[in-house]
């Protein structure tokens, strides 16, 4: 009887215990769903950013194409342009009117470039003027005194690159190292490394 009682109590205990695993399971499911949502959001955001990059590239490609068409038009002459365009580029899928739009875009872009500096006159508010004046005075005060070079020359040193290479590659590399072509090869490797710095976001393109 005691045993039976014990047995009858046991399932109740199990039933009580089975609640937390249910909740835990739900929690786990919710966490997994949340993680999935987050991953989706990250992916979507990255793809959107990529789309904007391609839209920008498309626009700058159109302007560049417009510039090329303008140069061609200069060579073939205004009167022959339309006929020439139809003959050479008509089958490329870019309508004459679209080409004209690209040329207008290029014209506008280049025309505004020449007037750009006039768009940024010096600020004339009190603080700007005062700071400029005091800077000029301070510069005059220390002007004759030799100043430290703001861009000191950085010494070049031998830098060892840990590359995992096959024995054959190592032998070839050693041969290149001792050949008279090493100077130019070294330059090419440095250039390639610089491209990698940009590719992997270590430096930005402007800083190269």
């Amino acid at each position: 009887m005691k045993k039976k009682n014990n047995l009858s109590i046991h399932p109740i205990k199990l039933a009580v215990r089975s609640c937390p695993p249910d909740r835990a399971q739900k929690g786990r499911r919710r966490a997994a769903a949340l993680k999935l949502e987050q991953a989706k959001a990250e992916q979507l955001s990255a793809l959107e950013a990529k789309a904007f990059l391609w839209i920008a590239r498309g626009r700058s490609a159109n302007i560049e194409l417009g510039r090329v068409f303008l140069q061609i038009k200069d060579i073939v002459g205004h009167g022959r342009w339309e006929h020439y365009y139809g003959e050479r580029f008509g089958s490329c899928g870019i309508a004459k009117r679209t080409a004209q739009t690209y040329m207008d875009l290029a014209r506008k872009e280049d025309a505004s470039k020449t007037a750009e500096s006039a768009l940024f006159p010096p600020a004339m508010d009190t603080q700007a003027v005062k700071t400029r004046d005091v800077t000029a005075k301070a510069e005059a005060e220390v002007g004759d005194v030799p100043r430290p070079n703001p861009n000191p020359v950085r010494l070049k040193v031998i830098f060892e690159l840990p590359l995992l290479m096959s024995v054959d590659d190592q032998t070839a590399a050693k041969e290149l190292l001792s050949s008279p072509n090493w100077a130019s090869a070294q330059q090419e490797i440095i250039t390639f490394l610089k491209q990698l710095y940009i590719k992997f976001g270590i430096v930005d393109e402007e800083a190269k």
Partner: protein, 267 residues
């Protein structure tokens, strides 16, 4: 939120503006409401989130940061001056330290401070954080909200930043956020400059607070001004040349960011 695709790039003209003060005429477009700004090169330039920070939080921050007293002697470009010897010694020789000259500092009202962790010359908690821990700790909720807004609006950049900071370990993060550092600028109207100490390729979150008018952030390369006010949060790439228009009143702005080399203790 609207997406604003900018079309014109004034890169060449803008490069000559480093250290110059912005003028209202330098921007042909002012943005003052929620917007995602895409530069002509396709990169996300900034995201403006207006009224995103609860008033009680940015007002508290203003009160806590008001006593800031650090001179801006190491920020010559942002002050709008040249990096010169700081002063002349008694014998007439220039001091060896260069930066903002003392005569310029006399006319500059701006003050600054850094909270959290810095990476140079080596990783450490900033002196200000040790001296006034409440300036950071009492703003925890604010920093966490800025973090959540960043994560929600630019999840892919946020993930990159967080991954970088995770490499550094939990002791160099501001709680569970993707920020290591808070730069605070008090009454600092900046000339055009870029921020070199911030992690590249990700965003910095800027938040102004106080009682002021003006101080729009001008990005001359795109000829835009961002009119952000207390309660707004601006996620923006600080590698872009930027500066502020003149302002009237009391203004403190905070930049929440990830220090550039925080994850790399070997550098």
């Amino acid at each position: 939120m609207r997406t604003l695709l900018l079309k014109k790039d004034y890169k060449e003209a803008a490069t000559h503006l480093v250290g110059q003060f912005p003028d209202r005429s330098h921007a042909s477009l002012t943005i003052d409401s929620d917007a995602k700004i895409i530069a002509p090169d396709g990169k996300i330039s900034a995201v403006l989130l207006s009224n995103a920070i609860p008033p009680e939080l940015h007002k508290l921050a203003f009160e806590l940061w008001k006593p800031l007293d650090g001179l801006v002697s190491n920020r010559a470009t942002a002050v709008g001056t040249l990096s010169l010897p700081r002063s002349l010694n008694k014998d007439g020789t220039p001091s060896k330290r260069s930066g903002v000259n003392v005569h310029v500092l006399e006319v500059v009202e701006a003050r600054q401070g850094i909270l959290g962790f810095i990476d140079r010359p080596h990783r450490k908690k900033t002196t200000l954080t040790k001296r006034c821990p409440e300036m950071l700790d009492a703003n925890r909720r604010l920093i966490e909200i800025a973090n959540a807004l960043y994560a929600h609006n630019l999840p892919h950049l946020y993930a990159q930043q967080r991954a970088q900071l995770e490499k550094a370990g939990p002791s160099w993060r501001l709680w569970g956020t993707a920020f290591s550092t808070v730069y605070i600028a008090k009454n600092f109207r900046t000339a055009y400059h870029t921020d070199r100490g911030n992690l590249r390729g990700v965003m910095t979150a800027l938040m102004p607070t106080g009682h002021f008018t003006g101080a729009e952030l001008v990005l001359p390369r795109w000829r835009i001004a961002i009119a952000f006010k207390p309660g707004d949060l601006l996620l923006f790439d600080p590698q872009q040349l930027h500066g502020n228009l003149a302002f009237e009143g009391e203004r403190i702005s905070a930049a929440f960011y990830c220090a550039r080399y925080i994850a790399d203790c070997s550098k």
